[in-house]
């Protein structure tokens, strides 16, 4: 069996008495598209923050391409090819959509600290291509602060793709979008991922989206992985059904 791209071993994080992530372990194979689902408060965002270096885990190990990344600074983890989006959209509000992507491209090509060259002409083609890929070509000149919510989600995706990542962590990439838009955005994400052989781990509440896009599904409940496998197997799992019982259409 080839070495997994990501190997997570017994990661834990508690906030006071709340065990937000309580011993999570799994392997993620190269090129896999996996959904991480679970009710609100299950610990998904916390786990993503740990992987991205924004939160320090209490315990555990995370090997990415065989190297330990727990404890590295966020910028160091991103440099290794792990990119992410945020549940609550995080963009640079006063910068244009194009500049938002440029910032990430300049960082990737290690030119963020150039003091005297005008940034206006740098990385423009690549950044515009990324914007076009997510369907934002027309909005490239507008400040992120005035973009519609759905467009912000797309912009986040474009930013996340700017470092030619190998592993993409998407925290509720379609939250807050209209149902029709959701399916389209995730289909787009999946096609980009396949084209670039990206590995994707995403959280999502819309089960239709999960079951059309994900190759495997992992269920988190109270900080623990309670099921993992092909979508249909997971759907049929009695424990999973019990967790979701009463939560209409699995969506919260």
């Amino acid at each position: 069996m080839p070495e997994p791209l990501l190997r997570v071993v017994d990661v834990r994080k508690a906030f006071g008495g709340v065990r937000a992530v309580d011993g999570v372990s799994f392997d993620l194979a190269r090129g896999e598209i996996r959904a991480l689902i679970g009710p609100n408060g299950a610990g998904k965002s916390t786990f993503f923050n740990i992987l991205a270096g924004l939160l320090r885990a209490d315990d555990g190990a995370v090997a990415y391409r065989g190297e330990e990344i727990l404890g590295l600074a966020p910028h160091a983890i991103w440099r290794r090819g792990v990119s992410r989006t945020f549940q609550i959209t995080a963009t640079f509000a006063t910068l244009s959509a194009l500049e938002n992507v440029q910032v990430a491209r300049l960082s990737h090509t290690r030119r963020s600290r150039a003091l005297l060259r005008p940034a206006g002409g740098l990385e423009v083609e690549r950044s515009l291509a990324l914007l076009a890929q997510v369907g934002l070509a027309e909005q490239s000149g507008r400040p992120a602060g005035v973009l519609a919510y759905g467009d912000l989600k797309k912009l986040e995706l474009a930013i996340a793709l700017a470092n030619d990542p190998e592993l993409l962590l998407l925290d509720e990439p379609t939250a807050g979008m209209a149902p029709a838009e959701r399916g389209a955005l995730m289909a787009l994400t999946a096609s980009i991922a396949r084209e670039r052989t990206l590995t994707v781990l995403f959280t999502e509440h819309d089960m239709d989206v999960v079951f059309t896009v994900a190759e495997r599904v992992m269920v988190l409940h109270q900080g623990r992985v309670i099921a993992e496998g092909a979508p249909d197997t997971v759907r049929a799992d009695p424990e999973v059904q019990a967790v979701y019982l009463g939560e209409a259409a699995w969506a919260t």
């Binding site: 924004l54 966020p74 700017a162």
Partner: protein, 609 residues
């Protein structure tokens, strides 16, 4: 030191601490709830002291006159606070919050001249407090009865405030608002009224502090400036928004001050600021404060809209005029232009920090002063040639900035601002008290340009090259990947970190670059005046570029030079034609802020968009 002397010193430190507590608790309260950094707080204190002086002398109440005067003065100042909040501050609550700071600074100027107008500039000695005029013997030493009474009063006021905060509905709201302002808005509380009431109470406390100070201290025109920095120290050390913290910190600082003068007379000025710097580095939220729920920049989001750029044609026209016109100007005007150039660069360097980087510095004077002193010390002690010393100015400032910036960029928002203030004050105190090297408040004289640069036009063109070139470079840096990335980190720190940006390193670099150009400005200024004095590092010198940046517009890189030019011109004209230039300048600033609540270029940019 004998034990009895220690005791007396301790007591007199505590007496001062009680006055300090009154003022600092008001300041802390206002900041905690409204997020306004109220520079005018010291002015309210001074105003109440003078009012008490006059009322105590005129009220026909015999021995009670003084006490009635104290209450009346404090109440009047509370009312003045009401007027200020309702008539001025409330109009700009929706502008980037720093514009309120600009208003409070304008008030400082206005009140200073109002006091001068009514009471003159001579020091005044107030009445003793009837019934508490003498001394009591403590451990064989005489101690003023009045000071003893103050020591008793402080805890009483603290208890009263405690009751207010913990036993009334109003107090619950205040505490909630200090923790999380958005929450109170959600709870459906009338924010405007809450803010007004807090501002009135805070002003009243400042007034009470000033009124009670009258029997202890001669009244001077500068008592506002001396108290406000000390009050800031207390607020920061105690924890923003924490009244018990203010009490503890006031006691600490009061006692440290009292002993500092005895033990380390030559370093007494520096000690409180070292304490503040250490507290900020080790425990940024203060001794009894709490870490903030959300991180914010000093006074909220500073830049909330895209960058406003001035068309290149205009820039070319201005540059052409700056090159061609001065030979036809009278000498005095050329000197004024040089000063404007120096300040334009000084403000532009601050803009890189606060506009592009979102890091509001209250201590940018440090770069200006280190530059000026770097050059002047070199000239004085090594007889270095002028151009060498001139070139050393930015290096000295950049090295200084690298040192203290290392600590500052670890903090954000108001804590960053206060740490910069602390370092600037430390530099000020060193320069002020290290007579053998810096000449103390006698300054260093004879810092003249080389002969071939000494004429007004020659020096003007040097200044134009150095400062104009500096401004152009700063503008270029702002547009470079470095500046773009700095803006990104300002807009969303977490997002920036997760696209591979090492924010601290980036901000630190910005700090050093800003220090460097501030140093160029300082060097230019030193050779313009032929001398340097400690006031180049003092608080007003940090506030002025802040005012200039805000006046021009934070979101416009060209705003800083525009603001500097307008401010300096107003300043020059006002000082020339009236003794009460602060009043005129302050009034004009108030009008400008009300007319251009995002700065002049900011508002112009909005209109064009």
């Amino acid at each position: 030191m004998s034990p009895s002397l220690v005791l007396i010193q301790l007591l007199s430190g505590l007496a001062h601490a009680m006055v300090l507590f009154l003022i600092a608790s008001g300041l802390s309260l206002i900041f905690g709830v409204t997020r306004i950094v109220n520079f005018a707080h010291g002015s309210f204190y001074m105003l109440a002291a003078y009012l008490t002086y006059t009322l105590a002398a005129t009220l026909p109440l015999g021995a009670a006159a003084f006490y009635v005067a104290v209450l009346l003065a404090a109440a009047s100042v509370g009312l003045a606070g009401l007027g200020v909040e309702v008539a001025l501050l409330r109009r700009v609550y929706r502008a980037p919050e720093l514009y309120q700071l600009l208003l409070t600074f304008a008030l400082v100027l206005v009140v200073a001249d109002v006091v001068k107008l009514f009471w003159g500039s001579e020091n005044l000695t107030g009445p003793a407090a009837p019934g508490l005029a003498g001394s009591v013997e403590i451990a064989g030493q005489l101690f003023p009865t009045y000071d003893l009474a103050l020591i008793g009063l402080g805890p009483l006021v603290a208890a009263g405030l405690w009751w207010l905060f913990y036993r009334t509905r109003w107090g619950v709201l205040i505490r909630a608002a200090t923790q999380d302002r958005e929450m109170v808005a959600v709870l459906g509380v009338d924010q405007a009224r809450l803010f007004t009431s807090v501002f009135v109470l805070g002003s009243f406390l400042a007034g009470l502090g000033g009124a009670l100070q009258v029997p202890r201290q001669a009244l001077t025109n500068v008592m506002d400036a001396s108290i406000i920095t000390e009050a800031f120290v207390v607020v920061v050390v105690g924890g923003m928004g924490s009244v018990p913290g203010a009490l503890l910190a006031a006691a600490l600082i009061g006692v440290i001050d009292a002993f500092g003068v005895l033990v380390l007379p030559r370093a007494s000025l520096v000690v409180p600021f070292v304490v503040m710097a250490v507290v900020l580095i080790v425990r940024p939220w203060g001794l009894l404060g709490r870490p903030e729920v959300q991180q914010r920049t000093a006074g909220g989001a500073i830049v909330t809209a895209g960058t406003v750029r001035v068309p290149p044609r205009w820039l070319a026209a201005v540059l052409a005029a700056l090159i061609a016109v001065p030979p036809f100007l009278p000498t005095f005007h050329v000197w004024v232009l040089v000063e404007i150039l120096a300040f334009a660069l000084f403000a532009a360097s601050l803009h890189l920090l606060m506009g592009t980087g979102g890091m509001v510095s209250f201590g940018h004077a440090a770069s200006f002063g280190l530059g000026a002193y770097g050059a002047a010390l070199l000239v004085t002690w090594t007889k270095a040639p002028m151009l060498l010393a001139f070139a050393a100015a930015p290096l000295a400032a950049a090295v200084g900035a690298a040192l203290y910036g290392y600590f500052c960029v670890r903090l954000s928002s108001i804590y960053f601002a206060m740490l910069t203030l602390a370092f600037a004050q430390i530099a000020f105190a060193i320069v002020h008290q290290w007579y053998d090297v810096t000449g103390g408040d006698n300054g260093l004289l004879g810092i003249w340009p080389a002969a071939w640069l000494a004429g007004p036009l020659a020096y003007y063109y040097l200044a134009l090259t150095a400062c104009g070139g500096g401004i152009a470079l700063l503008a270029r840096i702002g547009r470079a990947p470095f500046g773009l990335t700095l803006r990104a980190a300002r807009d969303h720190a977490r997002r920036a970190e997760t696209v591979g940006i090492n924010i601290r390193l980036h901000q630190w670099t910005a700090f050093v670059v800003a220090g460097f150009f501030g140093g160029v400005a300082g060097g230019t200024f030193a050779f313009l005046k032929g001398s340097v004095f400690p006031n180049l590092l003092a608080v007003p010198m940090s506030v002025e570029p802040l005012v200039m940046v805000l006046l021009g517009g934070v979101q416009a890189p060209a705003g800083a030079p525009v603001g500097a030019a307008i401010y300096k011109l107003l300043d020059t004209v006002a000082t020339r034609y009236t003794e009460y230039w602060q009043l005129v300048l302050g009034a004009i600033l108030i009008l400008l802020v009300l007319a251009f609540p995002r700065g002049i270029l900011g508002v112009v940019g909005d209109r064009r968009a």
